[in-house]
Symmetry: C2
Subunit: 342 residues, 2 copies
Amino acid sequence: MPPTKKSTLVLVAERAGVSIASVSRVMNGLPASQQVIERVRQAADELGYVPDATARSLKAGKTDQIALAVADVGNPVYAGMMHEISRVVTKAGYRLVLSSTGIDPHVQIDLLSSLNRGFADGLILSPLRFTEELCVQLRASRLPIVIIGSLPAGIELDNVRADSGRGIALAVDHLVEQGRQRIAFINGPVDTAPGAARLNGYLRALTEQGRPLNADAQVNASDFTYRAGLKAANALLDQTTPDAIVCANDLLAVAAMKVIFKRGLRVPDDIAIVGMDDTDIADLAQPAITSVDLRSTKRARMAAKLLLRRLENPQAPVEQVVIEPKLVVRASSVSGCAEAEL
Amino acid sequence: MPPTKKSTLVLVAERAGVSIASVSRVMNGLPASQQVIERVRQAADELGYVPDATARSLKAGKTDQIALAVADVGNPVYAGMMHEISRVVTKAGYRLVLSSTGIDPHVQIDLLSSLNRGFADGLILSPLRFTEELCVQLRASRLPIVIIGSLPAGIELDNVRADSGRGIALAVDHLVEQGRQRIAFINGPVDTAPGAARLNGYLRALTEQGRPLNADAQVNASDFTYRAGLKAANALLDQTTPDAIVCANDLLAVAAMKVIFKRGLRVPDDIAIVGMDDTDIADLAQPAITSVDLRSTKRARMAAKLLLRRLENPQAPVEQVVIEPKLVVRASSVSGCAEAEL
């Protein structure tokens, strides 16, 4: 017979040498020190409690709700992912609820706490920043979580990510083929997981092409948004004269193009542009923007399937999937070529 | 002493002459015939049950969750509204969850049923189509609902809407001032509330300007999306040669501009473009698009405040607010004027 809720809490608290309230906090994913979390988990393990069963015994019941948390609901790449995830989980009888967290990890931590208090049965999270606190919360959480994006070391969760560093290399190699000499880079914040991966990709690709690394040719927007992109592009063009710009997503790319036009320059004749994510923004821009397709629909579908699998079988081995990017060439990076020919 | 859950159901069922299951369905907002709904409501009224108290007695408890349902999460106007609503309700201690319903009213009806089963304390809904079934559900629902957008007759709910017909008139009058002769119109589906309001605005504005109404100059996209806009713009330009196009939102406007460029024509010299919603899309387009600002942030803020007021005081009188639009002029509608001058 499984232990009752009360006996679990009391026994674990005695074993861990912490208060019952602390055990309850850890079990519910509320903030607690790393030390307390580890003592509680060790005690629960020693007492032979299967973590997921323990967590479930503390939960009010199934919500039939899956939460999706993304950084910017205004970015069309997330809208597309939401549609795909919603399609997959609805078929399985779940309702999808969406939270937009911005790039502030505290909002994600609040969300994890809510989740652990039972507002959803599982979470698909696409965090931009992994702070130590967020990692602690992710490790402590007893509920199914799938991460879209790169994972820091020590986080063992189901995971789907694109090789965005490889994606940047595809962009750089294409621009070199087009004869571009001064390939600049507008990134998002480099203290985010995607920002760090993209920066590595850019530096590695230039090095492999035998190009010099020029600090002036790199700027970091304060966020992966259109508004932040306008500022970053102005800063870049104030300090250097590139003949090509690789941008860390399509919103930054369309912002760069806007700034280039405002300065009386042409795309692609004066400056070629490559974006990333291959959203409708790349297609609707004038000229249309060459973009690295990070296969967001496929990533979304796989993330949803991984979460459904985890909900069905909490003991399944952790699965981590890497999706290969591909380059979609449009008019913004190919001189002397009418848009219709691409 | 208030009646218990069981006695309420039994007494109302006896009075209404319907089954206990039917009373339960109506109380929970599940699908039921209009006749059954009216008998149940009448019986509840005659027995002196305050509707909201009755509904609350059937609810498991407060969720601290507010639901927002919009037609297209990929449209930046909704992303902006979500941010503003989230800001207001978070301050009041609620978590906002978002559902994207598409233009299919059945998805909205499913959502209303979920809501009435207790997944949220209130709903802000921006429905595009009011079917008879959706109206029945809205009338039957016992939980706080605020509608963003026009309401059909007979629905008495808190409501915030923009005068989009007046917005179209601002666009038409501006184009007439700019000397445009053949002002075409790309609308969304006319069997939606915004589509109908915009069509009326267009027809009224042309008539007031003494212009002929030409059926060839009007096309309806199958949805208010970029992809639907591409098809609609091609259809329009296959059948007529306008020198200006008013578009029912910014996504349709940027699609029209894309099609115009593909045909080797210029904006604004050959065809002027005006969009609607004044989103980032209008600003990032090249040239930037003149757009009717329907004050989406203000509407969102007011909708959130109306819902919070309703949650606090279920008996407050229904409030309906109309927001006046304004025109934001950019380069897409003004010939011979550099973008920087606008």
